[in-house]
């Protein structure tokens, strides 16, 4: 139905020309994430108190002028801890996602492009990994040795590898059917050139969207692992750990849990909106391509 195609506008080149057309969700997402990014980088300088400074005199203080979001059972300032914990919580999600992309994208490309026995072997291995419920796979990996945060990152990374592989492979297979790939084969391009110059540039937009959503899952999974004591370890102020530690006092001092919970929600909503925004920004239908 080309009858319905709206008249094409003058093509806009450069990001500046497209700025006014940025999706609202992208803008809100960036606005939500910006303060978190600042906190992640400069949290310990901005915090009014050291995150691990205990003060027996002011245990379980409600929010007030001295302690904006109150104190925990050791008298530590909840706001400072949340601020400092930003890095730990976000890094967990981002690093784990990066890890799964690093391992998953090449495997997916090979499985999609080469196919055959190698591809089959990769996909069957992924099937086995995917046969474990995600958090159990994490626990299985983590239970081997004493818990530590970097191990949790590796575990979450492994949990999400199969999904990255599957997505990459699916897109690669789809692209392999495209005629411009056939054209590249016909002019005698090497496999490496086709993979890196023809396929990869077309894979990254959907992967970027996927990655943004993966980060959300990874942050939540990381928080869950910290919550059950298999992620970040005390006295870290990782948000998941903070909520876990706050649980026994939730009736007397709900603020201990609410502050990191609120921060977590901001991060998750921000990244989700960012992902949605990216999706509509990178959708070829919105850039004039048919």
């Amino acid at each position: 139905m080309t009858d319905a195609t709206p008249a094409r506008q003058a093509p806009s080149r450069g990001l500046l020309a497209r700025l006014p057309a940025l999706p609202v969700s992208l803008v809100i997402g960036v606005l939500l994430l910006a303060p978190l990014a600042v906190a992640a980088v400069a949290g310990s300088w901005l915090a009014p108190y050291p995150y691990d400074e205990m003060n027996i005199m002011s245990r379980l203080q409600p929010p007030g002028a001295d302690f904006w979001f109150g104190t925990d059972e050791f008298g530590r300032d909840v706001f400072s801890r949340t601020l400092v914990g930003t890095g730990s919580s976000l890094v967990m999600g981002v690093a784990a996602t990066a890890l799964s992309l690093l391992a998953g994208v090449p495997l997916g490309l090979v499985a999609g492009y080469k196919g055959g026995r190698a591809g089959e072997a990769i996909m069957r291995a992924m099937d086995v990994l995917m046969s474990f419920p995600p958090i159990l796979l994490g626990i299985l990996v983590l239970a081997v040795t004493p818990p530590a945060q970097w191990k949790a990152i590796v575990a979450i990374g492994i949990v999400y590898v199969p999904q990255v592989v599957r997505l990459t492979r699916a897109i690669t297979l789809e692209l392999m059917q495209e005629e411009f790939i056939t054209a590249a084969r016909l002019r005698g391009e090497s496999a490496a050139y086709i993979l890196f110059h023809e396929i990869l540039p077309n894979i990254w937009p959907p992967l970027a969207v996927e990655a943004s959503l993966r980060v959300v899952f990874a942050i939540l999974l990381g928080a869950s692992l910290s919550f059950i004591g298999m992620g970040a370890q005390p006295p870290s102020s990782d948000w998941g750990l903070m909520i876990s530690e706050a649980r026994p006092f939730v009736e007397q001092a709900p603020w201990i849990a609410l502050c990191p919970g609120f921060a977590l929600a901001t991060a998750v909503i921000g990244i989700n909106l960012l992902g949605d925004g990216l999706r509509s920004l990178l959708d070829p239908r919105n850039t004039g391509a048919h």
């Binding site: 099937d127 086995v128 958090i135 626990i139 081997v144 040795t145 849990a257 977590l264």
Partner: protein, 318 residues
Amino acid sequence: MLAYTLTRLVYLALVLAVMSVLVFLVTQAMPGDVASMIAGQFASKEVVDAIAVKLGLDQPLIVQYGRWAAGILRGDLGRSLVLEQPIAPILMEALGRSLVLAVVALAVVAVVGIALGVLAAVRRGKLTDQLVSGVSYLGIAVPDFFWAIVLVLVFGSYLKLLPTGGYAPIADGFLPWASHLVLPVVTLVLMLLARIARLTRSSMIDVLQTNYVKFARAKGMPESVVILRHALKNALLPTITVLAIDFGLILGGVVVIETIFSYPGMGRLLLFAIQRHDLPLIQATILIVSAAYCLANLTADLLYAFVNPKIRHGMRAS
């Protein structure tokens, strides 16, 4: 369809076999040695070695695996070191309770999620759509354990409407049983609702733009028929797959949820086993939960094939 089912069953058996090897090897690598745990902290080396020989722990790994696997095939999951009793009955009881939680939560997610998704798709871009997105965002914005804490705080501590933890067997009556389920189920549903609603919405929007929907409208079918008969049946196909994946998320998620609500299911059992380094119990729990997850996936695939006439009527499934 029969060939498809057979293939999937053969495949399931293979995956489970590989999985059992993995679980066995990983748990072998765990710190803590079964023999010294049984013998106790102060036992001499000779006593420990004697126990190891008695349990066959001095034999090569492959032999140990063979014995373990053979036991599982007979329904013998071994003995728990900490609880000092056979694992199978404990595990099955815990699994049953967890499954109740998972199945109720899944049913609620499916019904509410699909309904919200369809509503949002039909009212695309309108206030209803925005509301559904907003509500579903809230659900995934914070981890399930945070919702659990909030729910406990509100319904348990402040309103005192519902029990905040524990479990009542159905023998005690339906109401006590159900009331213990409400908060854990709501928590699980909050975690999963968003994805199902959003997926249903997007596949529904895709289907509503297909030619067969246009043709149904050209036949003069009212919108209710177009949506429920023509669109929904096709739009549900991807949702079914994701529901199966969600079943796995629930089974995993129960580790956290059960801990918070002191619900005596698989999740708590697993955490207990890990904290106490009860190797046989860890092995058995992970294997059984994963097997349940695989079965759920298989069921979903078969259901998918059954709902999709292209596969049901003899076409190839790949």
